[in-house]
């Protein structure tokens, strides 16, 4: 519970309409896509950096935790008020401030929804490539805070590759600028890169300066079916070795294909044990050549069938197959643990084999799909949490999956971040000195630990557990 005085202070900062303590609203801002629940004590909707700054100053004086939130689509609980306190929602900071066509940069507020921004720049022939599957509803602030990625990252990189500069409210309430609108800049530490991916623990992003590219003239989509996962994996390496970097290189394993068979009209023959969706973009003539070359390269690797989209509608049909994956998984089991490990590209088949063994060992279905082009595998452990001990078995399986990825020189999360759900596993990946280094940064910038406490770093684990039990 927050003292009425604190609520009044918040009201003075943002106006009484933009602060709520109503129990309905507390419920509505208690969850994200992880489906965990932590009730906040208040929710505020600031409209500019000045208000955010005043909120953080107050939070330091009053010792109240503040949790930044975009669209609440996070997969690791980053926006959840694990210690109660204030949820700070960026939904009112949703303006595209400028699209500078001379310099190919844009300035936006953090609450702008990714797709809206993409559509706005595409209207003037420009291109913002990062494309998390949540782009229709996630915010650019949330994307930057998680360093979101998507299928196009094979060729174009992830969110951090497009953030040139930021305006940030520090945990203690100062408003600072990092980086800028120039393509180069080496004065001082690269705080922009530090902020991107820091999951709202080191500052609240109130403005982003974003790099844009010219919009590619055309694209071509192909769906290639293989008779083995090895064939598909070799195809990925072969394409890259052939000096072609496709825009996307998505794969689905046999279990995934089984799931989507029921959900799409596209014919996926029984022999298809793995599918690659390959897209190339660029000049119209160039992509024709590239597409042809790719089909030649992969042909000897056990190709069962291919579909090459000629029209935009056919390309859409192919992407529909990929997009139907997520929902069709529910046919396997109602609940899932969705992990997004990343391994060096060449290790994908080995990783899939490991996962298969883990699935057998714990006797739970595991479905793999994801971004083969960058080694980012979505490992979906499908369980029915109502069935006794399935959840525990899943926990054990997850740990082994992480260990497997790390042993191959990979990481336990390529996109979704750490939040509170992966915080317990941090010591598996980072050595103690690296954790200490990170803690030192956090402590220096946020000595009272009021900004998004309990995320990423382990020191707050106990508090999380307590909060969970209190709920």
């Amino acid at each position: 519970m927050l003292a009425p005085r604190v609520i009044r202070l918040l009201e003075d900062i943002v106006g009484s309409e933009q602060v709520t303590t109503d129990s309905t609203d507390m419920l509505c801002y208690s969850y994200d896509a992880t489906q965990q629940t932590f009730l906040p004590d208040a929710v505020v909707f600031p409209e500019n950096a000045e208000q955010v700054s005043l909120i953080m100053k107050m939070a330091n004086v009053e010792n109240i935790p503040v949790f930044p939130r975009g669209a609440g689509s996070g997969f690791t609980g980053g926006s959840l008020p694990t210690k109660g306190g204030v949820v700070l929602v960026t939904s009112r900071m949703d303006r595209i401030i400028e699209i500078d066509e001379d310099n190919l940069v844009a300035t936006v507020q953090p609450g702008v929804v990714t797709e809206q921004f993409q559509q706005a720049v595409e209207k003037v022939g420009l291109f913002y490539p990062p494309d998390p599957a949540s782009l229709k509803f996630s915010t650019l602030g949330g994307n930057a805070a998680e360093c979101a990625g998507g299928p196009r990252c094979v060729k174009y990189g992830v969110t951090k590759d497009y953030i040139l500069g930021l305006q940030v409210v520090t945990p203690q309430g100062d408003i600072i600028r990092t980086g800028g609108a120039t393509m180069k800049g080496v004065v001082g530490y690269d705080l922009t890169k530090l902020m991107v991916g820091s999951e709202g623990t080191l500052g609240i992003i109130t403005e982003l300066i974003i790099k844009l590219l010219p919009l590619p003239e055309a694209k071509k989509t192909m769906l290639i079916m293989f008779n083995s996962i090895d064939g598909a994996a070799q195809a990925v390496s072969a394409i890259i070795r052939g000096k072609i970097i496709p825009t996307t290189l998505e794969f689905m394993d046999a279990a995934t294909i089984d799931c989507v068979r029921k959900a799409t009209d596209m014919e996926l023959p029984e022999q298809a044990q793995a599918v690659l969706i390959v897209e190339v973009d660029g000049d119209a003539d160039l992509i024709e050549k590239q597409a042809k070359r790719i089909l030649e390269i992969v042909q000897p690797l056990g190709v069962v069938a291919t579909r090459v989209a000629i029209t935009a509608a056919e390309s859409e049909d192919i992407w529909k197959v990929r997009r139907s994956v997520s929902a069709s998984l529910r046919n396997v089991n109602p609940d899932k643990f969705n992990e997004d490990i990343c391994v060096p590209r060449s290790k994908v088949p080995e990783m899939i084999r490991k996962v298969d063994l883990i699935a057998q060992k714990y006797d739970i279905p595991i479905v793999n799909f994801g971004h083969a082009g960058d080694g980012n595998i979505h490992v979906n452990i499908m369980i029915d949490s109502k069935v006794a001990d399935q959840a525990e078995r899943a926990e054990k399986a997850i740990k082994e999956v992480f260990a497997g990825a790390l042993a191959l020189g990979g990481t336990m999360s390529g996109e979704h971040g750490v939040g509170n759900t992966k915080a317990p596993y941090i010591p598996m990946e980072l050595d103690p000195a690296a954790v200490a280094y990170m803690k030192a940064i956090k402590q220096a910038l946020d000595p009272k630990n009021v900004l998004n406490p309990g995320k990423i770093l382990l020191e707050d684990l106990e508090t999380i557990e307590q909060a969970k039990q209190a709920n």
């Binding site: 109503d22 129990s23 309905t24 609203d25 419920l27 509505c28 801002y29 969850y31 994200d32 896509a33 992880t34 489906q35 909707f45 669209a71 609440g72 689509s73 939904s91 009112r92 949703d94 929804v113 797709e115 949540s134 229709k136 509803f137 996630s138 997520s326 929902a327 529910r330 109602p334």
Partner: protein, 422 residues
């Protein structure tokens, strides 16, 4: 036993929500108000909390459940097909029941105590003219859609027709001998406020040679009552319609109103039994016409016969057709019309913001949603905005008027009828 599911019966569907947040991209109310309680994910969480007794049934709950256009857009794109629109309707029934009032609308009226609205009572009355409104039967959805005290004075409302559509025609209009009989479910808006849409339908059916039956005993489909949580009235109306369209008559029942299409189609199917038998026969008229070759027939019409100038026409997708997958048919018909240049507008698939009673109680939000629609219309530079639902037509007219735009609003059927030989 009730024909309608209780909120409790939706447990399983509620459990299917994985809180992914994808509905934020679909919900027009959320996009305007940007509060989690207005989006499907929030509404589902709130409904669940009521069932679990974590939240009380208070004024706030009533307001939250009123903030829904029942457009089904969230359901359409939900990866787990959570039927939020139905959950909200069930919640509204629950509210009416627990408060001991006949309709959710009555409860809501008590919750939204805005004195200003009362001032408009008299002015609102002018729109209808008490005399004309008398012609509307007590059970017509129009009475629920336009509870007089709530009508904003600057809302554009179509005139009520002096002579309702159904009274203009005999029960049976003959057609070619080899064509099967088709029945026409008119719905209230076509009957009372847009009879010209019905006239157009008659003309197009005549051109196609289908004998047309317009049962005089039909009434309101019941959707407004359903939205108002008034199950008794829904049942009463549904029974009357089942009788009016008794099984021995036409095998196909066409609608020209997207809301009625959902009302007597989808919802009757959900009610089961005889209702479902009627529901199964329901086809949107534009889909029916395309399936029966009207596009080809229109293409054969001699273009030289067309006297006027080229008309730029754009199309607004009514949610209740879009979510049933009917989007290509109206466009195919418009493209086939001689003298018509079809242009796609930005956001054609965005809800117009009417949502039946929604616009009555939340006129400001409704208008904001409508003004986004108007932006797309303006940018399309079309002469005519076509649609396939009288409700959308009314709302589009209102949005266009407020934006000061020159476009005229028309039903696709009217544009087709204009092109046909006399």
């Amino acid at each position: 036993m009730s024909n309608h599911k209780k909120l409790e019966d939706f447990r399983q569907e509620i459990d299917k929500c994985v809180k992914c947040g994808a509905c934020q991209a679909q919900c027009a109310v959320y996009k305007t108000l940007k509060r989690e309680s207005t989006v499907a994910r929030g509404k589902v969480a709130i409904a669940e909390a009521l069932l679990d007794k974590d939240l009380p049934l208070n004024d706030r709950f009533v307001l939250d459940m009123s903030q829904c256009l029942l457009c089904g857009s969230c359901y359409d794109k939900c990866p787990n097909l959570v039927p939020t629109d139905e959950i909200v309707m069930a919640a509204r029934r629950e509210i009416a029941e627990r408060q001991g009032l006949t309709t959710f609308g009555k409860v809501l009226t008590g919750v939204i105590k805005r004195p200003k609205l009362m001032e408009t009572l008299v002015k609102g009355g002018q729109f209808f003219g008490p005399f004309l409104f008398k012609k509307i039967p007590d059970h017509s959805g129009l009475r629920l859609r336009f509870p007089v005290p709530f009508i904003s004075q600057d809302r554009a409302i179509p005139e009520f027709s002096d002579q309702p559509f159904r009274s203009r025609y005999p029960e049976l209009i003959p057609g070619d001998d080899d064509k099967p009989l088709v029945a026409f479910f008119t719905g209230c808006m076509i009957n009372y406020t847009y009879p010209e849409v019905g006239e157009a339908l008659v003309k197009v059916m005549r051109f196609m040679g289908f004998p047309l039956q317009i049962p005089q005993a039909q009434g309101c489909c019941g959707l407004p009552a359903l939205a108002a949580g008034d199950e008794e009235t829904v049942d009463l109306l549904a029974d009357a319609n089942v009788d009016a369209f008794a099984a021995d008559k036409a095998e196909v029942v066409v609608t020209a109103c997207a809301s009625c299409h959902a009302g007597i189609g989808k919802h009757y199917r959900d009610m089961g039994g005889d209702y479902a038998v009627l529901g199964d026969k329901v086809v949107d008229v534009l889909k029916f016409l395309v399936d029966n070759g009207l596009v080809e027939k229109l293409q054969q019409l001699n273009h030289k016969d067309y006297k006027g100038e080229t008309l730029r026409v754009t199309y607004h997708d009514p949610c209740h057709l879009r979510t049933q997958g009917i989007t290509a048919e109206p466009r195919a018909l418009l493209r086939a019309l001689p003298g018509v240049e079809f242009v796609e507008m930005e956001g054609a698939d965005r809800c117009c913001g009417l949502g039946g009673t929604f616009s009555v109680y939340h006129y400001d939000t409704s208008r904001k949603i409508g003004s986004r629609k108007a932006d797309g219309i303006a940018a399309s530079q079309a002469d005519v905005v076509a649609s396939a639902c009288p409700g959308c037509m009314m709302q589009l007219q209102d949005s266009i008027q407020h934006a000061g735009l020159p476009q005229r609003v028309s039903h696709v059927l009217q544009l087709i009828a204009e092109c046909l030989p006399e």
